[in-house]
């Protein structure tokens, strides 16, 4: 290792180390370790909260009125957003598929089929989940964080009311149910606008026929199960960040942005995992039942 003794090499090494230290970009070992620790802390906390919610879910005082109130907040008030966004998404997807497939196979007769498959299996549930995260997740986090700041959560505990049971469970139930409903409505909306864009080439009959060549019942099962699983992400992540927010107005704002971004990230990663394993799992289930 004689080259390590070389003076210029050592100088370059020291300069590099100093630059890295000064830059403080978190590329240092300590930074990586801190980030990893924080990651495991958050992941563990989120999973714990998820299982706590599942445990508290069947316990008796069912707060039906609160669940309905949250469902109104989550479902009805996000309906315009979901309808507009999924409508545009449908038109965009059809236009892009027209463009791509006309270059690949020089005809667009398969466009509705591919569009249906892609929309039902992937874009519908995922985009609805991301929009719910942006519309609702921020509100959940801000609400819970300001409750924590004004010590209302401690007051709940003093009254021997479980905060998870009182605050998280109604939001969880409402969001999961409304996520499924909104996914179905949004995909229907995308179906209609997709038909409108492919109008001159297809009439409604041929549009449906071309779609039914490719879309199968499994795709709808995929849509519903994905909506169910991704719907659990938003309430858990945003309630976790609400419970663990720092104090003050700045803490609430930080928690809100973190909740939205983490929700979208978790949705994407969970969606990837489901996409990898869904077909194999569905194949196994179909083999078992048949």
């Amino acid at each position: 290792m004689s080259w390590l003794q070389n003076r210029s090499v050592r100088l370059i090494g020291r300069t590099l180390a100093q630059i890295l230290y000064l830059a403080r970009l978190g590329i240092t070992i300590e930074g990586i370790g801190n980030n990893l620790l924080r990651f495991f802390e958050v992941a563990g906390g989120g999973i714990t909260l998820f299982f706590q919610t599942l445990l508290q879910l069947p316990r008796p005082p069912y707060r039906l009125r609160e669940i309905l109130r949250q469902a109104l907040n989550v479902g009805w008030q996000s309906l315009p957003l979901i309808a507009v966004v999924l409508g545009f998404l449908g038109m965009i997807t059809v236009l892009e598929l027209n463009f791509q497939l006309s270059r690949v196979i020089h005809s667009i007769e398969y466009v509705p089929g591919v569009y249906g498959v892609v929309m039902f299996r992937e874009f519908g549930p995922t985009v609805v989940a991301c929009m719910i995260a942006a519309k609702v997740g921020a509100g959940f986090t801000a609400e819970l964080a300001s409750m924590k700041n004004t010590e209302q959560i401690d007051a709940l505990e003093l009254l021997s009311v479980n905060p998870v049971h009182y605050l998280v469970v109604p939001r969880f139930v409402a969001t999961v149910a409304m996520q499924v409903a909104l996914s179905v409505i949004g995909v229907t909306m995308a179906f209609v606008t997709g038909f409108l864009v492919s109008q001159p080439r297809f009439n409604f009959q041929s549009y449906l026929t071309a779609m039914s060549h490719f879309v199968r019942v499994e795709d709808f099962i995929n849509l519903l199960s994905k909506a169910l699983l991704l719907g659990a992400v938003v309430p858990i992540v945003s309630c976790y960040y609400g419970f663990h927010s720092a104090s003050g107005a700045k803490g609430v704002g930080d928690a809100t942005t973190k909740a939205v971004v983490t929700s979208i990230l978790v949705i994407i990663i969970l969606d990837f995992t489901i996409s990898v394993f869904a077909d194999k799992l569905l194949g196994i289930v179909i083999q078992w039942t048949a």
Partner: protein, 274 residues
């Protein structure tokens, strides 16, 4: 009173409730954008503040964008492999995925992520400053708040969404290729064979144009919502919510407009470039 005027009266109600606020809001947004752009070129340039905001917006969002880009590339490849396999066109998997990521999925994904991370943060920051009268204090000191607060954030968001889109796209393409070869067992030489044919410079240009436009939209909407807020702490939370909703709608609307323009000019572009 004739029947016509009665009918006009009946229409005026929803008109005043929905349409007038809608268009006046869009007008205010455009005027805000105009003011911000005019103040970019005025003399005291806040270079230090601009660099700080670029660090806040850009460097600290890099990990999120890279992770999201990687997984989204994987998702797109998995779904298109299934969809193209239905009519036996798997050979075009690489070309179609790359083209779709470059033109469509990448810019929209990064814009939504940045709207959620940075747009919401900027709105909350500016709204808090407005609510606690710090904006008025800046104006009292003889400094233009648009120039001091809005212009650095506007420039930083617009520039950094462009840069982050490029970074995210690189990782999305890597993720797509890796997932195709490791999980789907697609031969990588087949995967790369059609990319040159299907994803030309035009696709890259389309995507970059979209990312610049999305950057301007996200920056304008988040700064506007922040500077417009009035009231207390609750108004800040509402402003963040409204900002996120408007950003998502604006992004998808702009995406649709550009996609339809691209579809209209497709033949023309084909003749010029190929």
């Amino acid at each position: 009173m004739t029947a016509l005027t009665r009918r006009v009266r009946r229409i005026r109600g929803p008109l005043e409730i929905w349409l007038v606020p809608f268009f006046s809001e869009i007008g205010a947004l455009v005027m805000f954008l105009g003011r911000a752009v005019r103040h970019i070129f005025k003399a005291p340039f806040e270079a230090g503040e601009l660099l700080f905001q670029m660090y806040q917006v850009g460097v600290r969002s890099i990990p999120i964008v890279l992770i999201a880009g990687f997984f989204v590339g994987g998702i797109v490849v998995i779904q298109f492999e299934y969809a193209l396999g239905l009519f036996g066109a798997e050979a075009y998997l690489g070309g179609i995925t790359t083209s779709g990521l470059l033109r469509e999925v990448g810019p929209v994904l990064v814009a939504i992520m940045i709207a959620g991370r940075v747009g919401a943060y900027i709105t909350a920051e500016l709204a808090t400053m407005k609510v606690t009268e710090q904006v008025d204090a800046v104006r009292c000191l003889g400094v233009n708040p648009i120039q001091f607060l809005v212009v650095p954030r506007f420039l930083a968001v617009t520039a950094m969404i462009f840069v982050l889109t490029i970074l995210g796209l690189i990782f999305a393409l890597i993720g797509g290729a890796l997932v195709a070869s490791l999980i789907l067992d697609v031969n990588l030489s087949f995967y790369f064979a059609n990319i040159r044919k299907l994803a030309a410079v035009w696709a890259l240009f389309n995507g970059m144009l979209k990312s610049i436009l999305f950057g301007i939209l996200v920056a304008t909407i988040s700064c506007y919502q922040g500077m417009k807020t009035e009231g207390g702490a609750e108004a800040v939370g509402q402003a963040v919510n409204v900002c996120l909703v408007r950003c998502s709608i604006a992004i998808f609307l702009a995406d649709y407009i550009i996609a339809s323009l691209a579809a209209l000019t497709f033949g023309l572009a084909e003749e010029i470039i190929f």
